[in-house]
């Protein structure tokens, strides 16, 4: 406890230097912008910045990345309150109640409860992260290769089961990503795999190219194919951003409940921010004294889910930093960023790079505070971003995508790969394959293979090593359940529905 506080203080001494404050500010500003703009999100932004930050100090880079990550969450809520089009799935709920509030002239209060709630929940969750991460990292030291492999399998299956509507399509996406990660020279045996006889592929396909292709190019092609030509109404911000006494009274409990709900669910390998926001919404609706207001602009329905959303974002950082397991697309890209700097997140990171870890954690507190200031009084400026004409916006996104990839090595082969993967990303969206499992599979796949082979070389080729260690066995069983249970529930629901329909026909 005391050690943790000392470490955190040390972290603040790093995060509060003026250079790092500047990086944090740059990060949260960029994050807010990309959170508000459609078609571009934190995962894509961090991927695009990877080549630029290559020469930068890793601590400064990560402080900026963390700012982008948190900022994206704040910005997303602004969009969903003022536009009636849910963008990222974690904001769907905010879009329901928040947009209703905006239409009824209480847009400012909705923005305020979202921003203050994000700040409160973000701070609570960051504090939980601060005190939970060191013991978890120590626990992680006891993990052997077999346990790590099992943990990664768990991350694969839960991410696949949680994201998207179809397990089959999620699995396809996941294995496609793992396959992309196999391309290149196998480091243990020195054999070239899937390089098609070309020199360019010997080093493997760059994570940056895959992420930018799937996110930027794929999304742009997809939006173009079903582009909404009618201009969208941006709701004007009406009312005061200083919430009334009643609005405070109705907001603070949902904030805290949302934080306590979002953090653990974000931190589980079944991460992501969707489920906690849905749960928080349901909880607030049940606890509210005015449940009839829900669906018509209940402030609790914005406060709770937004808090849960942000707390989950902090929760996602727990397995990433302590175990090296990414549970969302953005976390996967951050893992790739660690690798770029020759760092491997996990238990050893806390002892090998304490400056980085604690500077990063301290900067989360700082970034949260900056975001509150940036988003409350200045929200009117950000809102103007929503009026950028879409053709110019998407054209600009592709300019930056091309730039980011071309600057890697001035290679036309890279560009063609980017565009080809972008087309795959378009097809995936068009035919309902979630993109995130592919990104996570590509980044986590090579690590999973490494642990798998390490475990087998320790056991001298005996596969039972994965089932005889209690930890690894437990994780694998949970992973299997994550795949099987949703299918069983689905079958049961369909049978029940068939029975009901049968009964209705008979009656």
């Amino acid at each position: 406890m005391i050690e943790t506080l000392e470490a955190l203080l040390h972290g603040f001494s790093i995060a509060l230097t003026w250079q790092n404050l500047l990086w944090a500010f740059l990060g949260v500003t960029l994050g807010t912008v990309v959170g508000i703009l459609p078609g571009i999100g934190p995962a894509l932004t961090v991927a695009l910045l990877l080549p630029v930050t290559f020469k930068l100090d890793p601590i400064a880079s990560f402080i900026m990345f963390a700012g982008i990550y948190y900022g994206g969450m704040y910005g997303g809520s602004t969009t969903s309150i003022l536009l009636n089009t849910p963008g990222e799935s974690a904001s769907i709920i905010t879009a329901i109640e928040g947009n209703q509030m905006a239409r009824r002239g209480r847009g400012a209060a909705a923005l305020a409860t979202a921003a203050i709630g994000s700040f409160v929940a973000g701070t609570i969750a960051t504090a939980l992260l601060t005190f939970l991460a060191p013991p978890l990292a120590r626990l992680g030291l006891a993990f052997g290769p077999a346990d790590y492999f099992a943990l990664m399998v768990l991350a694969f299956t839960t991410v696949t089961a949680v994201l998207g509507s179809s397990l089959l399509r999620g699995l396809t996406s996941l294995f496609f990503g793992i396959g992309l990660g196999l391309v290149g020279i196998d480091l243990q045996s020195g054999q070239a795999r899937y390089t098609l006889g070309t020199l360019e592929l010997l080093d493997g396909i760059s994570v940056i190219i895959v992420a930018v292709g799937l996110f930027a190019v794929g999304e742009t092609l997809y939006v173009a194919s079903r582009y909404r030509r009618a201009p969208q109404d941006v709701e004007a911000i009406k009312g005061s951003i200083w919430m009334s006494r009643e609005e405070w009274a109705r907001s603070w409990r949902p904030w805290i409940r949302g934080a306590l709900l979002g953090f653990p669910l974000g931190g589980l390998p079944a991460g992501g921010a969707e489920i906690p926001t849905f749960l928080s919404y349901g909880l607030e609706k049940r606890l509210s004294r005015k449940p009839e207001e829900f669906g018509k602009g209940a402030i609790e329905g914005v406060a709770g889910p937004e808090a849960a959303n942000n707390a989950a974002a902090a929760g996602v950082l727990v397995p990433l930093l302590t175990l090296g397991i990414p549970t969302s697309a953005t976390a996967a890209i951050m893992l790739a960023a660690f690798q770029q700097f020759g760092l491997q997140p996990g238990p050893l990171l806390f002892t090998r790079a304490p400056d980085l870890v604690w500077g990063l954690i301290a900067s989360l507190y700082v970034g949260n505070f900056m975001l509150l200031v940036l988003n409350l009084p200045l929200v009117g400026i950000w809102v103007r971003l929503l009026t950028i004409p879409r053709p110019l916006l998407y054209a600009g996104i592709l300019v930056f995508a091309t730039l980011g990839v071309y600057s890697l090595g001035n290679s036309v082969v890279d560009l063609i790969t980017l565009y080809a993967i972008g087309f795959v990303g378009f097809l995936m969206r068009r035919f309902g394959f979630p993109v995130a499992p592919a990104v996570i599979g590509m980044i986590l796949g090579p690590l999973a293979e490494q642990q798998f082979r390490r475990a087998l070389s320790i056991s001298q080729g005996d596969y039972s090593v994965f089932f005889t260690r209690p930890l690894s066995l437990t994780l694998l069983i949970v992973a299997a359940l994550a795949l099987v249970v949703p299918v069983l529930l689905d079958v049961r629901a369909k049978r029940a529905q068939a029975r009901r329909e049968g009964a209705a026909q008979a009656g």
Binding site: L83, P86, T172, F400, S407, F431, G461
Partner: protein, 165 residues
């Protein structure tokens, strides 16, 4: 969740994508089996994961083909700026695709600034923005600003091409 509207009609797009997954599985499996591995090393060698990926994609592909033949469609993703009721229109996809191909072709010859200006205009055209007098200056300004920022400030290399930059 993924039951589409029409049960009987085979969705050709879904079927083609499913066949693509099958082909991909075949590619990975074939590549895995072509790897030569010392027998003593087989279990921990470089083949296990490729075989796993190949087989898994083949299984997924078979299941997807079966779904498509039963008339099950994938649910297209939701996004901002999307008209949920609209059918997919392939014309803009082709316009933007051609623009990207042209960009890959020209970037080495024309240089970054001019080729990227064309890229900007082409993508905007894909989004139905036909007013060239509007997209050309914006695209040029953006490309030039980005070029200067990256080469002069960040020290990255980008081709100058025909412009005397």
């Amino acid at each position: 969740m993924e039951l589409g509207a029409s049960r009987r009609r085979v969705p050709w797009g879904d079927l083609l994508v499913a066949l693509g997954v099958l082909a991909l599985g075949g590619f990975f499996l074939q590549g895995a089996l072509a790897l030569r591995v010392l027998p003593s090393y087989a279990r921990i060698g470089p083949r296990f994961f490729p075989i796993l990926v190949g087989v898994a994609l083949l299984v997924c592909g078979v299941a997807l083909v079966a779904q498509a033949l039963r008339g099950v469609r994938g649910v297209p993703e939701d996004a901002e700026d999307i008209d949920a009721g609209a059918q997919a229109d392939w014309v803009p996809v082709a316009v933007i695709g051609a623009t990207l191909a042209l960009h890959a072709l020209l970037v080495g010859r024309l240089g970054f600034v001019l080729s990227t200006t064309l890229l900007f205009m082409g993508v905007a055209l894909g989004f139905d923005e036909r007013r060239v007098w509007r997209t050309a200056p914006v695209g040029l300004a953006l490309s030039l600003a980005v070029y200067l920022a990256f080469t002069k400030l960040l020290g990255l290399r980008l081709p100058a091409g025909v412009l005397p930059l």
